[in-house]
């Protein structure tokens, strides 16, 4: 994986000062800074690949149940607001862009730019969760939260529900209508897990803004910012698929 020419003896140093010949952030079990960066980058990828499998299980469940109880899943999807969903997609794409710019700022030693980019990413992340909470509040109001006084009214009597009426839904049999609860179970499981990842990411962003202001990432050691960027972009990719599958494919 690495070039063998530039190996610097990192541990041995005749003067006794181990940090004389290499940057202080080079751990002693690595031979070069590049080897260390590649190793931690690869480890981050391995973590993200386990995340692919984790979300992949949820996506597979959704795929099977949607084909199984198709009318219930279409009617359930009509309850989601495409305008909020699109707005959140734009917010998240924009936050991925500001994060990518933050990585560039760190790599090129731009401290003010890095702090600004991280702060923008932080704000956009909060904005995403804000919009999501508006959507969740609507679900709670309409009793579309599985297990919490779940109501079939929007599906048995679509004329009573503005969203169902707008989509031209036909009344469903009670046997099919009960499966809308499954749609919302998967909706909350998938968007909730995604939102949890956002909350974790926003927490780490707060920590990074604090550290970046002290100049932590702009003096050569950018691994943390780069790896966090990978995490944030991964969360963006999950949302790209959630948006298509939950909001869009049953719309027409």
């Amino acid at each position: 994986m690495q070039n063998n020419q530039a190996i610097v003896p990192a541990v041995l140093d005749q003067a006794g000062s181990e940090h004389g010949e290499h940057p202080s952030y080079l751990r002693h079990h690595f031979q070069t800074v590049e080897q260390q960066a590649d190793a931690s980058n690869f480890a981050m990828w391995l973590f993200l690949l386990t995340e692919v499998m984790f979300f992949g299980g949820l996506f597979t469940a959704y795929l099977i149940y949607r084909n199984w109880y198709f009318p219930a899943f279409v009617a359930g999807s009509h309850q989601l607001n495409v305008v909020w969903g699109t707005l959140n997609t734009l917010v998240l794409i924009l936050s991925s862009f500001t994060m990518a710019m933050g990585v560039w700022c760190a790599e090129t030693g731009r401290k003010t730019g890095l702090v600004l980019c991280l702060a923008l990413t932080f704000i956009l992340g909060i904005g995403f969760l804000g919009i999501k909470s508006v959507e969740y509040a609507e679900k709670i109001e309409k009793h579309h939260v599985p297990g919490l006084h779940y109501s079939l009214r929007s599906f048995l009597d679509p004329d009573s529900d503005a969203a169902a009426r707008a989509a031209g839904d036909k009344p469903m049999t009670p046997e099919m209508a009960v499966h809308t609860e499954l749609y919302f179970s998967l909706y909350f499981a998938m968007t909730g897990m995604h939102a949890l990842h956002m909350i974790v990411g926003i927490g780490i962003l707060g920590f990074m803004i604090f550290r970046a202001r002290a100049g932590a990432y702009t003096s050569g050691h950018v691994t943390f910012v780069e790896n966090f960027g990978l995490y944030w972009h991964f969360v963006d990719i999950v949302w790209i698929y959630l948006f298509a599958l939950l909001y869009l494919i049953s719309r027409h």
């Binding site: 597979t60 994060m99 298509a244």
Partner: protein, 99 residues
Amino acid sequence: MSEHTHTIVGPKVYVAILFALLAGTALTVWASFVDLGFWNPIIALAIASTKAILVLLYFMHVKYSTRLTKLAIAGCLFLFLTLISLTLADYFSRAWGSW
């Protein structure tokens, strides 16, 4: 001999990808309101995958990363698709919907 030197991706690339992602979002929202029957979910997933690949290659620097990383990602996607295919084959071929 160095296979890999750390490539810094610059703002021009990021801005181009941002606009591509915004265009893709507009396209997929528009396409979702057109009744294409069987093709609606396929087109939505195709656009989503295109956006995901752009994010992977450029925002996540996969295009510039080591062969090891590329191989690991490709292996993971292959495994994921295999698992989905086998699961679906099982469900579709065994008394579909009669549970």
